[in-house]
């Protein structure tokens, strides 16, 4: 199971990233869990200083932008 984490305090871009990540995971047909990490302290534990960010299985893949569904699907696969 892929662990997808969306890092951000909950602004519209963070929410859009979560939507795209969920759509990408469903399109890829994978088993996944989606977690929204909204605490600044928890976000900082990833070393992320620029949100929104996307982590997969604990590894930060994208920072500071909202990747599209296709881009996230490629990351997941």
């Amino acid at each position: 199971m892929k662990k997808i984490q969306v890092l951000g305090t909950g602004c519209p871009k963070c929410r859009k990233l979560a939507e795209n990540a969920e759509a990408a995971a469903k399109a890829a047909g994978i088993e996944y869990s989606l977690e929204k990490v909204t605490s600044i302290n928890d976000i900082m534990k990833f070393g992320v200083m620029l949100t929104p960010a996307l982590a997969v299985d604990g590894v930060v893949k994208v920072c500071g932008k909202v990747p599209g569904v296709d881009e996230i699907r490629a990351i997941l696969s």
């Binding site: 976000i43 590894v59 500071g64």
Partner: protein
């Protein structure tokens, strides 16, 4: 991430990385980066995190709208740190190239700071956020 930036999603993401080395020119990079961050012109970012290969930090730099790297001298520790992390898209300022002599005197001259500040400002583009 400072308290005034509870969310960077819509913030200006122009980023400064300074060598912050143990010389006058290294400390000039540090002071100028702090000043420009405090003035809201760019954000000062942790070069040690990049050197330590902290994945989130490297991706944060990669995601910035613009990056300016400040080295004090031609030893170019900051530039080498960036390149070792695979980060190559940045503007670059070397303080000794601005006519400042490298010493171990940490009483930084106002004129040297001003010259460096101006050089960094000249490299900084307009504020921009990635979509």
């Amino acid at each position: 991430m400072s308290a005034r930036r509870t969310c960077d999603c819509s913030a200006d993401t122009r980023t400064l990385l300074a060598c912050s080395g143990a010389s006058n020119v290294g400390q000039i990079t540090n002071d100028v980066a702090k000043e420009l961050d405090a003035a809201g012109e760019a954000r000062f970012f942790c070069l040690a995190g990049v050197g330590g290969h902290v994945g989130g930090m490297i991706e944060s730099v990669r995601g910035a709208s613009q990056v300016v790297v400040l080295d004090g001298c031609p030893v170019a520790c900051a530039r080498k740190t960036m390149e070792a992390a695979g980060l190559t898209n940045y503007e670059y300022v070397v303080v000794t190239d601005l006519g400042v002599e490298k010493t171990h005197n940490f009483n930084l001259a106002a004129d040297d700071l001003a010259r460096t500040r101006a050089a960094v400002r000249a490299k900084l583009g307009p504020a921009a956020c990635k979509p």
